[in-house]
Each structure stands twice: as structure tokens, then as C-alpha cells.
């Protein structure tokens, strides 16, 4: 049985595009490394100390997320991260996450009523590192008059993912033996997100990324057979 692209992927892409448009329309943004010469043609400029600086600061974050593009199961992730920002633009991060999985109704329906057992790739843990690049720094003025600063970052990284490829388990029947073996395989990921600065040390972070991991089954490789998980996470970061 072939599976069409889940609607959730289209919806997610649309939502992202809308968010980008809103940011462009309603905020004031500047390149992170903007300097005086960038605005040399303006008669009046604002020169002020940056509200939130990340350079040489440690970042601790805790996030909750979910895999958005799996048809037959829900994966809820808890991810903890530790990073260090070398500059306002670049940072290096390490992270580890654990996933809680349960079957979707579709899986139960197929298994119970039709005795169809789709092949499901589940991730249990992910860990690794990534580089973050922050090209954009901006602000919103809220209705109350308060100003909310944010930045926009991109990430790229990799590591390992403990995963399994299981057949069955939908509708209560047993998982086919041999397909429930957990293996740790390589993964890489790319993503984007924003940090909204709630104070001088804390930030609300959202992040969406595509994590590609090599399936646990024998003979498969990450390039040809890689499983793509689109993970959306929300969390809080604390900067020391």
C-alpha cells in the first residue's frame, strides 16, 4: 500500500510560509551583524546597546516536541540541550531527547478491522550536536506598547538515533518478531526556529527541523533509505 504525503506536511509548510510573511510585515528586522555603514544613507539612526546578547554565553534549554509527519503513530519528544554561543551569529549545541510513542487511530483501525499491519519506524532516543547560525535579529511592538525582541536561527547537525522498524502492533496484535529490534543508527538534521527574549537571560524558543535517520533494518542506509521526521518543538532557554 502506498501512502500519500500526509496533509500535515502541506499544512506545516503553509504555516511556516505564513509565519515568515507575518514576521516580514509586522516586525522590524535587521541583519544580526548590522553596522553603522549599513544605514549610512539615513539622516537619523538609532544607536543602542543590544537588548539581548548571546556572545560567550552558555545556553540551557528544555523543549517539548512532536513528530508532525508520521501517519500511524504519534511521537512526543522531550529534548534537553546545552549550547555555547561563540558570537551573536554562531553557536555550538549538544542535545539529547527521549520519545514517547503511541499509535494513532488510523493504525488501530487498520490493524483491528482490516488486519493490515503497516511498517512503522519509531525513534526512541536522539542525541547529537548541531551548529546554529543566526542571521536575523528583530523586534515586535505589542499592542500594550511593550517591545518583544527575537532572533531567527538555522541549524544543521547530526548524531545518533535509537530506532526500530516494527511491523504490527496496530489493533492490539503482536508485533512481528524480528521487527522490534532497537538499533542506534546515524542521523542528521537541518532546521530553523526563533528565540523570543523574555528577559535578559531567558528566551522562548520554537524550532522546526527535518531529522533524517537510517532505519534499523539490515541492509539499509541513510542516503537511500533515510526516514524523515519533521519535528516541531517548543521550549525555554536559559542563558548563563
Amino acid at each position: 500500500m502506498s501512502l500519500t504525503l500526509p496533509r500535515s506536511k502541506n499544512a506545516l509548510a503553509f504555516a511556516l510560509a505564513l509565519a515568515l510573511a507575518a514576521v516580514a510585515l509586522f516586525s522590524s528586522i535587521a541583519p544580526t551583524g548590522a553596522r553603522a555603514e549599513d544605514f549610512k544613507d539615513y539622516e537619523i539612526r538609532v544607536i543602542k546597546n543590544k537588548y539581548f546578547t548571546k556572545r560567550f554565553r552558555l545556553q540551557l534549554d528544555i523543549n517539548a516536541g512532536g513528530v508532525m509527519n508520521q501517519s500511524f503513530h504519534n511521537s512526543y519528544l522531550g529534548i534537553a540541550g546545552l549550547g555555547f554561543h561563540f558570537s551573536e551569529s554562531f553557536g555550538l549545541h549538544a542535545e539529547g531527547g527521549y520519545s514517547f510513542v503511541d499509535n494513532k487511530d488510523e493504525c488501530d483501525l487498520l490493524g483491528r478491522d482490516f488486519n493490515i499491519n503497516p511498517l512503522i519506524n519509531e525513534v526512541q532516543t536522539i542525541y547529537g550536536g548541531y551548529v546554529s547560525y543566526t542571521p536575523i535579529y528583530g523586534k515586535y511592538q505589542l499592542g500594550s506598547g511593550d517591545v518583544l525582541y527575537f532572533d531567527w536561527f538555522f541549524t544543521a547537525g547530526g548524531g545518533l538515533a535509537a530506532n526500530r522498524e516494527r511491523q504490527g502492533g496496530c489493533g492490539g496484535e503482536e508485533v512481528t518478531p524480528g521487527t522490534d529490534v532497537w538499533e542506534t543508527t546515524p542521523q542528521f538534521n537541518v532546521g530553523t526556529g526563533q528565540r523570543y527574549f523574555l528577559g535578559k537571560s531567558t528566551a522562548f524558543i520554537w524550532n522546526v527541523r527535518v531529522l533524517v535517520f537510517q532505519p534499523a533494518a539490515e541492509g539499509k542506509n541513510i542516503i537511500d533509505d533515510g526516514i524523515k521526521n519533521v519535528i516541531l518543538s517548543l521550549g525555554l532557554g536559559y542563558f548563563l
Binding site: 548590522a34 544605514f39 537619523i44 539612526r45 538609532v46 546597546n49 543590544k50
Partner: protein, 549 residues
């Protein structure tokens, strides 16, 4: 005269009847005296025993913390007695009112004690308590002036009240000549200043009035051109005051002293300490703009004024910013921009001038009504008439004179309302009437005194505006007459070299090691950008000179 005697039982009943009649009269008199408040002129006839009993009863009520009852009892005793008893009763009454939550009521009776001078045994306690009350609920200049109208020997002032006494004596001397001396008021003004100085110096360290006294001393030293003395006094205020607003005023004082010394970097270091949410923040920007002008940092000077001209501060009165901008553009040989500033000044302040003139004519001689205009503006945020004068009314409403008067009036009205709610127990004795009258009289006196001060402040602003208008006309005339170079020379301070530092937000030097952000100004004012504007224009003088050639 023959007295018929009853000899029925062999005794003469005539003398017994006389004694009984006397006792009955005394008892009847005591009953009447305790209930009828208008018999105070007969006070000497109240028997001593009655007074002692009444005092003891009042004391018992006070010690049992039944202050409403003790106040009633003390009041009744005070009007029915004289001498020491009356003095004790009045003091007990004042204490009871204070404890019952009627500080202004208590202050009224303390004032009566103090007004009697040292012959009242409770003079020192009264003065002590007045000083203490004033730190928590301002009594107002009108009331305090009345208290110290009585001649008091300074040696009789108790230690606890020395701060209160000498501070207000200093203030009295300062008001009578201090301000005038600073503006060239002459020898008599300087004498008053010297007297004020000696009074303020007698306020002891550690006293609640000490920081305020030191602030005024700082101002006096500045007027006397003793900048070291001024710096010392203002620094002491910053160290010892627990009031944010007083510390900020002293910080401004330090900045201004350094400005006078032409040590502009130090001046900026103090101006930049005033937080954005302070009432003084705009003033620091304005004075900082002048300091930037003096060190030829024209872009920063124009940037500071740009914040003041933003829509966030549309009702704030800083007409001189246009003049400063105009002479800055003059220095940069940007004559069209100069003319624009003069035009903007006239457009903005010509209606203000006219409406302010109307207001002053209407309320001249009627300080109470003028006070009401200010109070209504403060309460509603709008001026009901002559609306173009809003900026000036706003400036006057931010003055200390209005704030103090408003606090006193609010206090009086709050106690009067409290009296209506809780004072029923005092109606019979007449205490409620006395308090009501005292609140009303004091409220009226406060409003009248404050109204006079506020009116004179408004008149000063009118004259200030007129002077600035004359300056704009002078600049225009000089330019039309082609005397631009002479005009430029007049506004170039002597020996003012340019400062090489780059200055950023908050009048602080830019630190290249810290992260700086730049935003373009495109006509939109963002609240977080206020105070951070810096112009990016250069001088056209070389071009203008070669064009002339």
C-alpha cells in the same frame, strides 16, 4: 430677716437645707459641664476633682486603645478646663486623633500646642510629633508657615524636632530670597540665602529631613558658585536619601555642577544615571543636548531633541529645543533646516502663547480657581479651555508645589470622609465640628497658597516663551540682514574643542566591545528607541564658504 424654722423634731433644718442645696448645685453643674461644650468660659468653676476624674477616664480609654472614646473625653475636658489640665487634655486629644487614624486632626491640635510656645509643657512633644507627622502626611507649607509664625527659641527645640524646625526655617529664608539671589536678586537676596544656608546646616545628620536639607544646601552652594560645596552636598543626598525622586534630583544637581565646570563627560555620567521612567528623564535629554552642543557633537544634540519631539511627549514643554536645533544647524551652515526649526517653533508656540495669555488674564487674582484648573488637568489629562496652553499647564502640574498641595488636599478630603463615616461618636461633644472646620480651612489655605505659587510659575513660563520668541525673531533678522557669520560667531562657545568620543544611547560612550545595534529611523517611533537617536549629517560650512567665494 426672720427664718421660719421647723422645730418639729427639735433640730433646725435651715443649715442642712443650705448644704444640700450647694451640693445639688455642684452636682448639677458637673452634669451640665460634661455635656454642654459652650461653657468653657466658666471653666475655672469646674471642680478639680471632676477634672482629675475626667482625665483619668480619658487616659484609661487611651491605654485601652479606645482612641475614639479617649479623643471625645479629652476634647470635652479641654474645653471645660484651663491651665495645665487643658494642656494635658489637648495633648491627649492630639495623640488620640493621631492613633485613631486622623493625622491631620492630630496635627491641628499639636499646632495649637506649639503656637502657645514653651509655656505649654507639651510644646516639645508637640513639635516632635508635628515633625514626625509631616514626614508621613505632608502638612503643607501654608500650615507649617503658620506653626513657625510663633517666635520659638531654637534652644528649646527638642532634638527630635530639630530637623523639622531648621529645615522649614531654611525653606522660609530660601523662598524669601533664595531663588531671587540666583537670578541676580541683589544683596538682600544673598542675605536670605546665607540665612537659609545656616538653617539648613543645623539639620542634624541622620534626621529624616537631612537629605532634603542637603539638597537645598547643594542648590545654595551652586548659586554661590561654590561648586565643591555643591558637589559635596549633592553627593551626601545620594548617599543618605531613601527617596528615589530626591536621589535623582541630587544626581541632576551633580550633573549640572559638572556642566557649569565644563566637565561635560562627568556631566553625562550623571545624566545617564537618571532612569527612563523618571519624571526628570526628558530634562536630562534636554540638558544633555546642550552639553553635546558645547562639545560640538551636533548629531547627538539633534538626536536628543528628536526624542523630546516624538509623539510620546507631545504635551511636554520644551520650546528651547527648537532654538537649540536652530543654532546647531546654524553652526553646520544648514540654513534651510535652521529656518524650518524657527518656523516649527512659531507654528507650535504661537497658539500656546495666545492661550496662555488668556488663561493668565482670566485667573489673575483667583489662585483657587487656577489651582482647580491644574488639578482638573491632572485628573482628566485634558484642559477644558485654551487648549493650546496644555503644555505649560502640564509642566506646572508636575511641579513640587502642586504635588505637595495635592497630597495635602487629598489627605484632608480623606480624613473628612473618614469623619463622616466614623465620627458619629464625636458629634455630641462638638469635636467633629471642630475637625470639619479645621479641614476646610486648611484645605482652602493650601489651595490658595499653592494656587499663588502655580500662577507665578505659569507667568514665568509665559515670560520664558516670550524671550525665546524674541530670540527666534533676532536670529531671523540677523539672517535676513546677511549677518550670518556674525550670528554663527556668537553661538560658538570659546575654546570648545570637539570631543573625539562616539556617544550612543543614554548619553554613554559607545563601547566597541559591547554589542551595538543600529536601526534606521523611517518616520516610525518605537518606544525602545527613545533616547538612542543620533543624526547622521555633516557640516555644509566648507561648501557654503567656497560658494560665497
Amino acid at each position: 430677716m426672720r427664718v421660719k424654722s421647723d422645730k418639729s423634731n427639735g433640730l433646725s433644718t435651715g443649715p442642712i437645707k443650705s448644704v444640700l442645696a450647694c451640693v445639688a448645685a455642684v452636682v448639677a453643674w458637673n452634669v451640665v459641664a460634661s455635656f454642654v461644650p459652650t461653657v468653657s468660659f466658666l471653666a475655672p468653676l469646674v471642680p478639680v476633682a471632676y477634672a482629675q476624674n475626667a482625665y483619668a477616664e480619658a487616659q484609661r480609654a487611651f491605654q485601652a486603645r479606645d482612641y475614639f472614646n479617649s479623643a471625645r473625653l479629652f476634647y470635652s475636658l479641654s474645653i471645660a478646663s484651663s491651665g495645665d489640665t487643658r494642656a494635658k487634655a489637648e495633648f491627649g486629644l492630639a495623640e488620640s486623633l493621631k492613633k485613631a487614624g486622623f493625622p491631620y486632626g492630630g496635627a491641628y491640635f499639636y499646632s495649637r500646642i506649639v503656637a502657645q510656645g514653651t509655656k505649654n509643657d507639651f510644646f516639645r512633644f508637640g513639635l516632635d510629633n508635628l515633625g514626625d507627622l509631616n514626614t508621613r502626611s505632608p502638612l503643607g507649607r501654608a500650615a507649617i508657615g503658620g506653626i513657625f509664625g510663633t517666635k520659638i527659641d531654637p534652644l528649646q527645640v527638642p532634638p527630635g524636632a530639630r530637623g523639622f524646625y531648621f529645615f522649614y526655617k531654611g525653606l522660609e529664608a530660601f523662598d524669601s530670597g533664595g531663588a531671587a539671589a540666583g537670578l541676580g536678586g541683589g544683596a538682600s537676596g544673598m542675605q536670605s540665602v546665607a540665612r537659609a544656608k545656616s538653617e539648613f546646616e543645623r539639620v542634624p545628620s541622620g534626621n529624616p529631613y537631612y537629605p532634603r536639607a542637603q539638597y537645598y544646601l547643594g542648590v545654595i552652594y551652586a548659586v554661590m558658585k561654590d561648586s565643591d560645596g555643591a558637589l559635596g552636598a549633592f553627593s551626601r543626598v545620594v548617599r543618605t536619601s531613601t527617596s528615589d525622586s530626591l536621589r535623582q534630583l541630587a544626581t541632576m544637581g551633580l550633573a549640572r555642577v559638572y556642566y557649569e565646570r565644563k566637565d561635560y563627560r562627568r556631566a553625562f555620567s550623571y545624566y545617564s544615571q537618571i532612569p527612563r521612567d523618571s519624571d526628570l528623564w526628558l530634562e536630562t535629554l534636554f540638558e544633555g543636548a546642550w552639553a553635546f552642543f558645547m562639545i560640538q557633537k551636533h548629531n547627538n544634540s539633534l538626536g536628543n531633541n528628536h526624542t523630546i519631539h516624538s509623539p510620546f511627549f507631545v504635551n511636554r514643554f520644551y520650546p528651547e529645543t527648537y532654538i537649540l536645533n536652530a543654532i546647531t544647524y546654524l553652526r553646520l551652515c544648514r540654513y534651510q533646516a535652521l529656518r524650518d526649526q524657527l518656523r516649527k517653533f512659531q507654528e507650535r508656540y504661537k497658539p500656546t502663547f495666545a492661550d496662555l495669555n488668556n488663561l493668565l488674564k482670566k485667573y489673575q487674582g483667583n489662585p483657587e480657581a487656577f489651582y482647580s484648573v491644574i488639578a482638573r488637568y491632572r485628573a482628566t489629562g485634558r484642559l477644558g479651555e485654551n487648549t493650546a496652553a496644555t503644555e505649560v499647564i502640564d509642566a506646572v502640574s508636575r511641579s513640587d508645589a502642586f504635588k505637595e498641595a495635592a497630597a495635602v488636599v487629598r489627605g484632608m478630603e480623606r480624613e473628612a470622609a473618614q469623619l463622616r463615616g466614623q465620627g458619629a461618636r464625636w458629634e455630641m461633644s462638638g469635636l467633629a465640628d471642630v475637625l470639619r472646620v479645621s479641614y476646610e480651612n486648611r484645605r482652602k489655605a493650601t489651595i490658595r497658597t499653592a494656587g499663588e505659587i502655580l500662577f507665578s510659575q505659569a507667568v514665568q513660563q509665559f515670560r520664558y516663551l516670550r524671550d525665546l520668541s524674541d530670540q527666534t525673531r533676532l536670529i531671523n533678522l540677523e539672517m535676513l540682514s546677511g549677518r550670518t557669520d556674525q550670528l554663527r560667531a556668537r553661538f560658538n562657545p570659546e575654546n570648545q574643542g570637539s570631543d573625539g568620543t562616539s556617544w550612543g544611547e543614554g548619553m554613554k560612550p559607545l563601547n566597541v566591545k559591547s554589542e551595538i545595534e543600529y536601526w534606521p529611523f523611517e518616520g516610525e517611533y518605537w518606544e525602545d528607541e527613545l533616547g538612542g537617536y543620533v543624526y547622521n549629517i555633516d557640516s555644509k560650512c566648507a561648501v557654503a564658504t567656497s560658494a560665497k567665494k
